[in-house]
């Protein structure tokens, strides 16, 4: 161990290799604060060659590695599940090439999502996937999590915007997946598609080619307030049924509205509404005008309390500010926050939300909801005090039941935040042992020795025969220890 740490220090120097136990505490969790584990060391390479060098060294020591971008993951992705070294990409943040003609950019993995858009906006272009964490999260993390965002209802998830990736595999070899022409252009297997969403378990991406999108001619943002969640969800169903394809359809419930309004992300949302619906329309100016009319009419039919429209970019930013900051604003309610991520068919949103409220009440937890209503992607947020094991256990148990409910409703256990370590127990709710075996084989093809972010995404063989009644994460929390 000490020998390895010394070698890492020699390779990277004291500012790019962290080996001090106290300092390593800063890396013991991501945005999912239940799972805590200190890495053996953290290194910050700046090039593909440096990544290769450290991966080879680790393999020689038979020590696994965990890639890490900004550590905003909400499912424990960059937190080691077994003793491992973290390879942090924060110093790989060069935009290597922008090609407006081909509508693509080649970036290092540590480039921040919003920085990429900022760098190309003078060309009338943007990078479409827009997770709420976009001001800080990295393209590498987005790729690994197949992240989504409010605008993904119309434009698709990260996987729809990644053309190619250069990745360093567990043995230190460099592989190029996909091509700038698009993943299918060469008639080959869609390997970059397979890599996308692999949560760091297939290797580490060191260069990513992404699609850039032209800015729409016109954008309209509307905010409608409703006296009930039923009415808000009803409006969403009507909008979709009318054949409209808004760029985004977001709902915030009352508790979220109040948290947002009490924070720096104050957006002027009406605080007496039971729910607000944020609708963004974009495209050719004429079409957008017509669609905005139609949305207004639908909201009026669903007895909206008020409908507000942002007339300029400034106000549009304001209306979005509350939605984008909802997570952090919830942080004011307690010391920790558990952000769930489940999907249900749009038509069952109201029923599911009602059942979720019941589950929350039964476990005695404080729960709020904000969600991408267009794709039925729910984000129940639970505020709690992580220093209290009983409370933490209650929160995890409630979370487990909520995701179980989503599956029962015909949905899934993750829309965009990934499985990581958080949802290992939930995986058997959705997949049969055979399904899991297929995924394991795919994984072994990339990482036969299990050196890339081991212990994530796929539960160990044998543990999946039967869905757990009592999630293991809860046992681990109640059992004390570092929650590994």
């Amino acid at each position: 161990m000490d020998a390895l740490r010394r070698q890492l220090l020699d390779l990277f120097g004291p500012h790019r290799a962290i080996v001090n136990e106290a300092a390593l505490l800063a890396y013991e969790c991501d945005g999912f604060t239940v799972h805590k584990a200190r890495p053996l060391a953290v290194v910050l390479p700046e090039s593909t060659a440096e990544v290769q060098r450290v991966v080879r060294l680790l393999r020689a020591h038979r020590v696994p590695f965990v890639p890490r971008g900004a550590g905003t993951c909400l499912s424990g992705g960059p937190t080691p599940a077994q003793p491992a070294v973290v390879i942090e990409t924060a110093r790989m943040k060069q935009i290597l090439r922008v090609s407006p003609e081909d509508l693509l950019a080649v970036v290092q993995p540590g480039v921040v999502n919003a920085d990429l858009t900022r760098a190309v906006q003078h060309l009338g272009l943007h990078y479409a996937p827009d997770p709420s964490s976009q001001t800080v999260c990295t393209i590498g993390g987005n790729l690994a999590e197949n992240s989504g965002g409010p605008h993904c209802f119309k434009y698709g998830m990260t996987t729809d915007h990644v053309l190619a990736a250069e990745v360093v595999l567990a043995d230190g070899e460099v592989a190029r997946l996909g091509s700038a022409l698009g993943p299918h252009a060469m008639g080959e297997l869609d390997l970059v598609g397979l890599f996308t969403g692999s949560e760091g378990t297939f290797g580490i991406a060191t260069e990513i080619t992404v699609r850039l999108s032209p800015d729409p001619e016109a954008v309209r943002t509307l905010l409608a307030a409703f006296a009930s969640m039923e009415a808000a969800c009803g409006a969403v169903s009507d909008i979709v049924a009318a054949g409209l394809v808004p760029a985004a359809l977001e709902i915030l419930d009352q508790a979220t509205i109040r948290a947002v309004e009490a924070s720096v992300y104050r957006a002027g949302y009406p605080q007496d509404a039971a729910a607000v619906l944020l609708v963004e329309l974009d495209g050719p100016a004429l079409a957008v005008d017509e669609d905005a009319q139609a949305v207004r009419a639908i909201c009026a039919r669903r007895a909206a309390l008020s409908t507000e429209e942002a007339a300029d970019p400034e106000n549009r930013k304001r209306l979005w500010k509350g939605r984008k900051g909802a997570f952090g604003a919830m942080g004011r309610l307690s010391t920790d926050l558990y952000v769930l991520d489940g999907v249900v068919p749009r038509t069952r949103l109201v029923e599911t939300l009602r059942a979720i409220t019941g589950i929350g009440a039964r476990h005695g937890v404080t729960l709020t909801n904000v969600f991408h209503a267009g794709d039925g992607n729910l984000h129940p947020n639970i505020a709690f005090d992580g220093r209290d094991p009983e409370q933490t256990a209650a929160v995890l148990a409630a979370g487990y039941e909520i995701l179980e409910l989503c599956v029962r409703m015909g949905g899934s256990i993750s829309g965009e935040h990934g499985i990581g370590s958080e949802k290992l127990d939930h995986v058997p709710l959705m997949f049969t042992p055979d399904d899991l075996e297929v995924m394991r084989r795919a994984r072994s093809a990339f990482d036969p020795e299990g050196l890339c972010n081991p212990g994530k995404v796929l539960p160990q063989r044998g543990s999946c025969a039967e869905p757990a009644r009592w999630p293991k994460m809860v046992e681990r929390v109640l059992g004390g220890g570092e929650g590994r």
């Binding site: 136990e21 300092a23 945005g31």
Partner: protein, 408 residues
């Protein structure tokens, strides 16, 4: 303003570990280290309180590298009061084990021996000016007594006529609209007499009588940021007394202004909170009252750079921009990230020279890229830092205080 009782530990619990503050942090941006990010530092301070970090020395370098610029507070949706936590923790760490070494000596000497005592400071500056004339400063740099980039940063000390104290009353010109007190600060008075004179000129021309009480003291900001809060308390009390009778206390230095507005937290008394509520940055005050004297034309491209302690510390962003908008002929040019720290941050550039150098260079490059002919920013430290880095890049861009452009 909250009463003093809420412990810094309780405040660390406001952080939910979301990371939304990361990109706002200049040290994270340069180093890429979670250990040198707001989230990491808050976690360390929490772990110190929870006992999971036994020896504070293990994380001291990461806490020391913090600029206390508070960009993280602006970015944080959860309302974490970073500055308060850091200043309390720095204080208690300094009490437990006073830091040693050159940087610590420099700090102590600069802060407690000089800055806090106007008389001594005046003397030191007079000596400095003498040395300047004889060229000692250059010698000191060349002989390696001061690290090279520190020598570059030291600005020329202005001649004596600009360093004369301004105590007394300056009557309003034309119809009197009101009366204000002027807080002059310590370093400001010595280094930037020019700006003080401009401030008085602008205030009086706009119809305000200006009192400059002799009894005022240094604001104590540098001491508070450096973890020496107790040393700052007597200074704060002197200021409460000096400005007891003034409805408005105007200042022209973002760092001092921020500290004055935080006296409520420092002293925890109702009187201090009342004082804090009466303090205004000069741009804030003039914007509230409206200009009646048209500024002299300034037909140039000007970039405005937000001092951290004005935008993040006091939430003042619009007033200086709006006032500059009223200068005839002035064109405002935007530049990348005006709210990011320039690396000056009190005495940071003296104690963390390498990091400050990188942060300052980033700022200067953004300004050069904007094509501005002058940059306006309302904090003395920032002005020095920005000017030094512009010159290092070979840029002749002028660095001014916004109030200098408002002189009629």
């Amino acid at each position: 303003m909250e009463p003093k009782e809420v412990s810094p530990y309780t405040r660390t619990l406001d952080c939910v570990h979301c990371g939304l503050c990361l990109q706002a942090c200049p040290t994270y941006n340069v180093l890429g280290l979670e250990t040198d990010s707001p989230r990491g530092r808050i976690y360390f301070m929490r772990m110190l309180a929870e006992g999971r970090i036994a020896d504070p020395e293990a994380v001291r370098p990461h806490l020391d590298r913090c600029l206390d610029c508070r960009a993280c507070e602006t970015a944080c949706p959860s309302g974490v009061r970073y500055g308060e936590i850091l200043e309390s923790v720095r204080s208690s760490m300094a009490r437990q084990r006073p830091p040693r070494g050159f940087a610590a000596w420099l700090r102590r000497t600069l802060l407690t021996r000089l800055v806090a005592h106007q008389g001594r400071l005046r003397f030191a500056f007079a000596l400095g000016r003498l040395a300047e004339v004889v060229g000692v400063r250059w010698l000191a740099g060349a002989a390696g007594i001061l690290p090279r980039h520190m020598a570059v940063l030291l600005p020329p000390i202005p001649p004596a006529r600009e360093r004369r104290p301004l105590h007394g009353t300056w009557p309003a010109r034309g119809r009197e609209r009101g009366r204000v007190a002027f807080f002059t600060g310590c370093v400001m008075e010595q280094m930037f007499g020019r700006i003080h004179r401009a401030t008085i000129e602008v205030l009086t021309a706009n119809g305000f009588t200006v009192d400059v009480p002799r009894a005022q003291a240094c604001c104590g900001a540098l001491l508070v940021h450096d973890g020496q809060a107790q040393e700052a308390e007597p200074l704060a009390r002197r200021n409460l007394a000096a400005f007891r009778d003034h409805a408005v206390v105007v200042n022209n230095s973002a760092g001092c202004g921020c500290a004055l507005k935080e006296y409520g937290h420092l002293l925890g008394s109702a009187e201090a909170r009342d004082f804090a509520a009466r303090c205004r940055d000069v741009s804030e005050f003039l914007h509230e009252q409206g200009l009646v004297a048209t500024p002299r034309p300034f037909p140039h491209k000007v970039a405005y750079d937000d001092p951290c302690h004005l935008c993040h510390g006091q939430g003042v962003r619009k007033p200086p921009r709006a006032l500059l908008g009223q200068v005839p002929g002035l064109t405002h040019v935007p530049h990348h990230d005006p709210e990011s720290c320039c690396g000056s941050a009190g005495i940071y550039n003296l104690v963390q020279p390498e990091l400050a150098w990188q942060i300052g260079t980033t700022k200067a490059k953004a300004l050069v890229a904007s094509g501005a002919e002058a940059v306006a920013t309302g904090n003395p430290g920032c002005m020095l830092q920005i000017r030094a880095h512009l010159r290092a890049l070979g840029s002749p861009m002028r660095v001014v205080h916004p109030v200098e452009l408002l002189v009629p």
